[in-house]
């Protein structure tokens, strides 16, 4: 493992109630890159993020972040490494009882001894970076979906993490907000020297901003490559996914017995 690599995932297996979710995943994520993990709904993408964050423990294999095996850390060490990670949840997961300002200030107040005036400056800078300095006094309920996502982004970079994970950052956004979030992810990764991992099924938006893509299907990596390689790929699964085709390796129909038998037409004359 080189110092270039921030996250290393090796032969990772994870089962939920004896139902295998991930089956032998291998990935490496380099520092300073934006990496997308794509796959259909229920393919285990979010589980992968939870494994990186140490929320769940793998059945076998390991996730190494910055050289440390995450699931072997004790609670204090895990919390220590989580301070260097940010996570953007699907719908922002802002604390509904705190204002926008207090949401962004949350981690600074919990984890640092900074003075209130210093925190104020830092929070305004983080909010400025996502274009919402003027909204610092609002409550989360007063924000639109896109704004909430941007506040959550500001909150996740509050302590300048080395790694940010985004769980479906593009879901449910209008085209403008979608473009804003996409460009923010790219810009912040570059200016703050972070590494970003995006779990998404929004192909077009994410291919514009990422450096590398992994496709996860049925718990295994179906394909991986740079956006250019992925666009030109002839592999049936990648082709179906990237171009959003209805039928293909991922079938349109849920497995069932034959249509004729279901309609009791087995013995009928055609």
């Amino acid at each position: 493992m080189t110092s270039e690599t921030l996250v290393e995932i090796s032969d990772l297996n994870f089962s939920y109630d004896a139902r295998p979710i991930l089956k032998g995943i291998n990935m490496t994520m380099k520092r300073g890159q934006v990496i997308a993990i794509m796959g259909g709904s229920g393919s285990g993408k979010t589980t992968l993020l939870r494994l990186i964050g140490g929320e769940v423990v793998p059945s076998s294999g390991y996730v190494k972040v910055s050289g440390q095996v995450v699931h072997q850390l004790d609670r204090d060490a895990l919390f220590e490494i989580r301070r260097k990670m940010g996570m953007l949840f699907q719908f922002g997961a802002l604390f509904t009882d705190l204002s926008v300002f207090d949401n962004v200030a949350f981690q600074m107040r919990e984890h640092t001894d900074l003075s209130e005036s210093m925190i104020r400056d830092l929070v305004l800078m983080k909010l400025h970076a996502v274009g919402l300095r003027g909204a610092h006094h609002l409550m989360p309920a007063e924000l639109s979906g896109g704004m909430a996502r941007r506040v959550a982004l500001a909150r996740s970079i509050a302590l300048d993490p080395m790694l940010i994970m985004y769980d479906e950052p593009f879901t449910g956004l209008d085209p403008i907000s979608l473009g804003v979030i996409g460009s923010l992810i790219r810009r912040m990764t570059d200016t703050l020297g972070m590494t970003s991992v995006i779990v998404t099924h929004d192909v077009q938006e994410s291919l514009k901003i990422v450096d590398y893509v992994y496709f996860v299907a049925d718990g295994v990596i179906a394909a991986h490559g740079t956006p250019a390689e992925v666009r030109d790929s002839v592999a049936p699964f990648v082709h179906q996914f990237v171009h959003g085709e209805v039928d293909g390796p991922v079938p349109f129909h849920y497995p069932a017995q034959s249509y004729r038998r279901d309609l009791n037409l087995e013995n009928a004359l055609v």
Partner: protein
């Protein structure tokens, strides 16, 4: 026949094991909350904020209910006692009923439905909207930061609310019997004073309300934290909080009364 019997036994066994498992799970969570209560006391501001939501906002229902319960007690007590010509004992009757039983029990039942359900719904929704997971990912323990302050706020509020309930009840009894019906104020207060014992009655009532406070808030925070992260899950958990804590209050009341007031 035999198959049905086996299935029946199996289902009873399954439910029993499930129940015991759930009880163990709840106990472990309760101990975890106690263990992680350090933050609540180091940063007491967190508890004070919850005291407002749990305690202060419950005041209105406690004050009004206490007043009416006391008024009814006064009315009923007077009607019965005057048949025996001892209507001056109505003050004692009102005070003892309230301080020993109705104050702690009814206040706790109201507290469970007003504050307990709110605690469960809030924690459950925080879980459903991934706020608790987000907090965990920010290396802040949600049990220490969210659950423990609410627990302690409930435990602290409950005895005060029960005391306020009793005081309002006595005032309501006074209002009905002395002001409206015309029982002698002097005998109303003096009989009460000589028959209500600080240690036996007031202190025991206070201890009861402390037990109820722990039971109600422990159930409320557990149900919230344990609720499935869906709309249905949260509503189910809120209902369970009210039902379980009401039953717990009444059951505990019987046990505590048996220990406290037997042979007095």
């Amino acid at each position: 026949m035999f198959k049905h019997l086996a299935a029946g036994i199996r289902s009873v066994g399954h439910r029993t094991i499930e129940g015991v498992w759930q009880l163990g799970h709840a106990t472990r969570f309760f101990l975890l909350v106690l263990l992680k209560s350090g933050t609540s006391f180091r940063r007491f501001g967190l508890v004070i904020r919850e005291l407002y939501y749990v305690g202060v906002l419950s005041l209105i229902i406690i004050v009004v209910s206490g007043l009416f319960v006391g008024m009814v007690l006064g009315l009923q007590g007077y009607e019965t006692l005057q048949k025996y010509g001892s209507e001056s004992a109505v003050g004692t009757l009102v005070a003892l009923s309230l301080v020993r039983e109705l104050g702690p029990v009814v206040a706790a039942l109201l507290f469970a439905s007003r504050a307990g359900s709110a605690i469960t719904a809030e924690i459950g929704l925080m879980k459903a909207t991934e706020q608790l997971a987000a907090m965990g990912m920010m290396a802040v323990d949600p049990v220490a930061r969210v659950v423990a302050p609410r627990f302690w706020a409930g435990v602290i509020s409950m005895p005060f609310l029960a005391a306020i309930f009793s005081v309002m009840g006595v005032f309501g009894g006074y209002l009905v019997t002395v002001t409206f019906i015309g029982v002698d104020a002097g005998s109303f207060w003096s009989q009460m004073q000589s028959n209500v014992d600080f240690r036996i009655d007031i202190l025991n009532g206070f201890i009861k309300s402390c037990f109820f406070g722990v039971a109600v808030t422990a159930i409320a925070v557990f149900e919230g934290y344990d609720s499935p992260p869906t709309a249905e899950g949260v509503s189910g958990a809120t209902t369970r909080t009210v039902v379980t804590s009401s039953l717990a209050i009444l059951g505990l009341d019987f046990i505590l009364t048996a220990f406290m007031f037997r042979g007095i």
